[in-house]
């Protein structure tokens, strides 16, 4: 049916695509991990985190960033919005 095809289904597929890409961005948000890395550095520099805590947090965030970057690369091909 013309109405269903063109007006109802169209937006639905688009919404699904958009939701998917938003989810990918959320899960693998490299920018927010980079901000956390900078925050960790800042709190260490002003003496609020000791060296051991800073190093531990840094190692954790860097491996998280690494994983997020790899996941993004893998998924980026699949998140192309088809129109």
């Amino acid at each position: 049916m013309f109405l269903l095809d063109d007006i109802l289904l169209w937006p639905i597929t688009n919404v699904v695509d958009v939701l998917h890409s938003l989810a990918v961005q959320e899960m693998y948000d490299t920018e927010s991990i980079q901000s956390d890395i900078k925050e960790n550095q800042l709190l260490y520099e002003i003496g609020e985190r000791d060296e051991a805590e800073y190093e531990r947090e840094r190692a954790r965030l860097e491996s998280e960033l690494d994983a997020a970057e790899r996941a993004r690369e893998r998924l980026s091909d699949k998140v192309v919005v088809q129109r």
Binding site: Q34, S35, K38, E39, L42, L43, E45, I46, E48
Partner: protein, 207 residues
């Protein structure tokens, strides 16, 4: 020794040699001159330079030394990671960018950059709205230009850079000390002098 060159920034033409270590621990720091401009360089093996903490620190420190050594000199900094296959490719980039470099050298003549960050306490008693206008007003009064930087943490209430005359650093430092006294619940982080990264706009195309 490799003939590749890592470039830090551009100064007025000068034969300079500094015995300090640069990116990847390479030395000496030297200059490559094209007409009225000199690029500050060290040799480097690989043109893809890894962005490690040591390397970014070395990049900043070479620029600071060039800026402060002797009577001091004006530097137009390049972003981290600019490496060139040879002195010839570097010179051709300097030729292409000579107007932008000359203008930037004029814009930041005799100036240094200082950074001020203000970090709020964990309980969040102070907000950005509470502090930004007052702090900015005080620091703008003792500097020439201000640039806003990313507030990458909830705790970061203020993060700006200032351009000022090399000789005006003492007055600026006093203004920062007053901030520390007037905002006892916050931590003020004062950094520099840096090369004026936030106040020059020279784009260099990758080779």
């Amino acid at each position: 020794m490799s003939s590749h060159l890592y470039a830090y920034g551009v100064i007025e033409a000068e034969d300079l040699e500094l015995d300090i270590e640069g990116v990847e621990g390479e030395s000496p720091v030297q200059t490559v001159t094209f007409r009225t401009l000199s690029a500050v360089v060290t040799p480097i093996d690989d043109v893809d330079v890894e962005r490690t903490d040591e390397n970014t620190r070395a990049h900043d420190e070479v620029l600071r030394e060039v800026m402060m050594e002797g009577d001091g000199r004006t530097v137009v900094p390049m972003q981290f990671g600019m490496a060139f296959k040879s002195a010839r490719t570097l010179k051709s980039v300097m030729r292409g960018g000579r107007r932008a470099f000359r203008k930037a050298l004029m814009d930041v003549d005799g100036k240094v950059e200082l950074g001020v960050k203000v970090v709020g306490s964990e309980d969040g008693a102070l907000t950005r709205e509470d502090v930004a206008a007052d702090i900015s007003e005080r620091l703008v009064a003792v500097s020439d230009q201000e640039a806003e930087n990313d507030l990458y943490s909830e705790r970061l209430l203020f993060n700006r850079s200032y351009l000022l005359d090399r000789d005006a650093q003492e007055a600026f430092g006093e203004a920062v000390s007053e901030l520390e006294d007037d905002y006892p619940d916050a931590t003020v982080q004062y950094t520099g002098p840096w090369a004026p990264y936030n106040f020059v706009d020279v784009e260099i195309e990758a080779q």
